[in-house]
């Protein structure tokens, strides 16, 4: 067995050398040996580590394999803590955070929360309803541009244009949702991808409306009205949300509202029906679940949450341009959902912070971020398709399966 593994290791190493050395090493005719061999060494080191792990495991014997893996144990232990504590702690940390952090960290926090909101929204479509959406960022773009255009052309305030943005997003969600109702997974992926690109190209090409690639700038920040005593009477004063901590609290509230909304949806009849559609559409349809309507609803609601995040993004930056909404952004959001565990709300939060904050903190890793995203996505699917923190329903299923397996072994 070990000899076989060694042979495999050698073959893989040769393959890796063939693949990596020319592509990484050569810059036209100049060969950068150090870089090429460093990368090759890294990959071979991973292979060797895998090999060692396999050998150790086979030495320990078969019964060790039955044991629950470390990741599963962590996530099960995590699940034992009453939810109110973890959630309360998280909210408390999030609320105190701006008092302790500098502006840069607050900015990173805002980005994280935007992506968490997007991840939660996409979680409805991908995680609960099981429809793959590769053009999700388009709805974020729609929210951002709706606010930008309404504010710049007509001077509409943030709060008044927010519902318009959400409606616009939901409408477009239905527009893309409707033709895809009959489609299966892979066609759906391509159509949503094409749709995302269409939206970006329209924003990019429609110079008269969107100022093309230059983008729109100068949107007002959101404002709040509060009663205050001045000039000897009670008046409504205006507070403009423009400092970073204020913006941070605003997106925190948006994210929390999204969280609560999606939790409630998840536990409702609609949530259960979505899961039914995901697990077996035909069976759901035959059991009387209105699948068409539910799929449209999933698209529309997912798009609505993205539009809110988009409007906030446009207001925060006071600037939008079509290049914020490229396909890779959709992939980042999808990666958050997948890494966290499809359908799992805590998973999305944890994955959002890991994927957005960690590369921001280690600036030198910035360039490798997308590389890691791609690798994570593929590796997760192969090794742990349920994600870091599997959704509760999946966890129950897994536990049941394990129990059954245990019983049959005895």
């Amino acid at each position: 067995m070990i000899r076989q593994e060694i042979k495999k290791l050698a073959v893989y190493s040769v393959f890796l050398a063939i693949l990596i050395l020319p592509m990484v090493g050569f810059r036209t005719t100049h060969f950068e040996a150090e870089r090429a061999f460093k990368v090759l060494g890294l990959f071979i080191a991973i292979l060797v580590a895998n090999f060692v792990a396999k050998v150790v495991r086979s030495r320990r014997g078969e019964d060790q394999l039955q044991k629950v893996s470390l990741g599963d144990r962590i996530s099960l232990r995590f699940a034992e803590i009453p939810k109110i504590y973890t959630l309360g702690l998280l909210v408390a940390v999030a609320a105190v955070f701006p008092l302790l952090a500098d502006n840069y960290m607050i900015d990173v926090g805002i980005t994280c929360l935007i992506y968490v909101t997007l991840g939660l929204g996409l979680n409805i479509v991908v995680g609960l309803c099981g429809l793959l959406d590769l053009g999700y960022i388009a709805f974020y773009a729609v929210g951002a541009y709706t606010y930008a255009l309404l504010n710049l052309r007509f001077g509409v305030s943030f709060w008044a244009s927010l519902p318009a943005g959400v409606l616009m997003g939901m409408f477009l969600g239905c527009v893309i949702g409707y033709p895809t109702l009959k489609m299966r997974g892979d066609y759906l992926a391509i159509v949503t991808m094409g749709f995302g690109e269409i939206i970006r190209l329209v924003l990019n090409n429609w110079d008269k409306l969107t100022a093309g690639p230059n983008g729109l700038f100068g949107m007002q920040k959101p404002t709040l009205y509060y009663p205050a005593f001045h000039d000897g009477g009670l008046h409504l004063s205006v507070y403009s949300i423009k400092t970073l901590p204020a913006l941070y609290y605003m997106i925190l509230i948006i994210a929390l509202l999204t969280l609560v909304g999606i939790r409630r949806l998840n536990d409702s009849r609609i949530g259960r029906a979505w899961v039914a559609v995901r697990e077996d559409e035909t069976a759901a349809e035959l059991s009387g679940v209105p699948t068409t309507w539910l799929k449209l609803l999933a698209y529309a609601l997912g798009a609505g949450f993205a539009a809110v995040a988009g409007a906030f993004f446009a207001a925060k930056l006071s600037y939008v341009n079509p290049n914020f909404f490229i396909f890779m952004e959709s992939c980042i959001v999808l990666c958050i959902v997948v890494l966290g565990g499809s359908g799992s709300i805590p998973g999305v939060i944890v994955a959002g912070f890991i994927l957005i904050a960690v590369p921001e903190i280690f600036r030198e890793l910035q360039n490798y971020r997308m590389l890691a995203f791609g690798a994570i996505m593929a590796i997760m699917m192969v090794l742990k398709p349920d994600g870091l923190i599997p959704a509760r329903r999946r966890r129950v299923q897994m536990a049941e399966r394990r129990q059954l397996a245990g019983e049959s072994n005895e």
Binding site: I18, M23, M381
Partner: protein
């Protein structure tokens, strides 16, 4: 003013672009026919082929081979690209697709997408973010037919693309391996029972499909004179549209679909605002998927024919 020459010129351009889309679409359609998975990383395989040739061709040019042994250079260049990308394709199948062969569809698609992102960023990190200039080896000279100028490069590329497609058609219909591929596409379980080595057949599909894509990548590099790490994305969507249009899983369908998509794009760019040509192609893709998901000549449900 649209003269015959102008129209003929556009038709030649359409034929040229169409054959490139067709070559890429063939890779999709073959992989889909065999394992019913969209190989999202196909666009990156195409780009990888173009980059490898950038390296090889620069090396050959620096020793002055391109001018002295033109045919030999072309043979080396295309063989290298196709061989490299075939190895990459097999590795990809082994790492990311094989473990998921019996998993849910969503998992397989996400794994494919992950590999696509990984490869495209790997190429970005190793070969740079900007356009990389290709050594220009085809001059501007060519032949003029009724006012339409066809360059030698275009003739060469169209002929090579046709030759590759004919070779593929012969391979699939005249050899044992081709027969095994057709059988596996029709019914995998049954083929296994009849003694066909499924793993090997799938591996061969992942050699041929990516190799054709790599050839297309080289053609794009040679013709447009530049490659970029993310050029695979746009070609991928269009080639996919071509594969769907011709009925996914069907080899002649992919060829015709490629020509149609190429034709629509070139004619749109010639007569209508060219900034919108990609929007048109994507809209066409969505319309086809909605109204005729089995392709223009498909019958009934999506049927897999190789």
């Amino acid at each position: 003013m649209t003269s015959t020459g102008f129209i003929l010129q556009q038709l030649v351009n359409a034929l040229f672009l169409g054959s490139i889309y067709a070559l890429i679409a063939l890779g999709y359609t073959m992989v889909y026919g065999i394992i019913e998975l969209i190989n999202f990383a196909h666009g990156e395989l195409f780009t990888a082929g173009a980059f490898i040739v950038l390296i090889v061709l620069s090396a050959l040019q620096s020793v002055g081979w391109v001018d002295s042994h033109f045919i030999l250079t072309m043979v080396i260049v295309f063989t290298m690209a196709m061989a490299y990308v075939a190895v990459l394709g097999v590795a990809l199948e082994h790492v990311a697709y094989r473990p998921l062969r019996d998993a849910s569809r969503l998992a397989a698609i996400l794994s494919a997408l992950g590999m696509s992102i990984f490869l495209s960023n790997g190429m970005m990190l190793s070969q740079g973010v900007s356009d990389r200039a290709y050594p220009s080896i085809f001059g501007a000279e060519g032949i003029t037919v009724m006012g339409a100028k066809i360059t030698n490069g275009q003739i060469f590329i169209i002929l090579l693309a046709v030759a590759l497609m004919v070779a593929l058609q012969l391979f699939v219909h005249r050899t044992r391996l081709g027969k095994a591929m057709r059988a596996t596409a029709q019914n995998r379980t049954m083929s296994r029972m009849l003694g066909i080595n499924i793993d090997q057949t799938i591996r061969i599909t992942f050699i041929i499909g990516p190799a054709l894509g790599a050839a297309a990548g080289v053609m794009v590099g040679l013709y447009y004179g530049a490659v970029r790490f993310d050029m695979g994305f746009i070609f991928m969507i269009k080639a996919f549209a071509a594969a769907i249009l011709g009925g996914i899983g069907s080899i002649p369908g992919a060829m015709i679909g490629g020509l149609i998509i190429g034709g629509v794009e070139v004619l749109w760019a010639a007569f209508l605002p060219s900034a919108w040509k990609d929007v048109t192609t994507f809209t066409l893709l969505i319309l086809v998927l909605y109204f005729k998901p089995s392709g223009l000549w498909g019958q009934g449900d999506v049927e897999v024919r190789v």
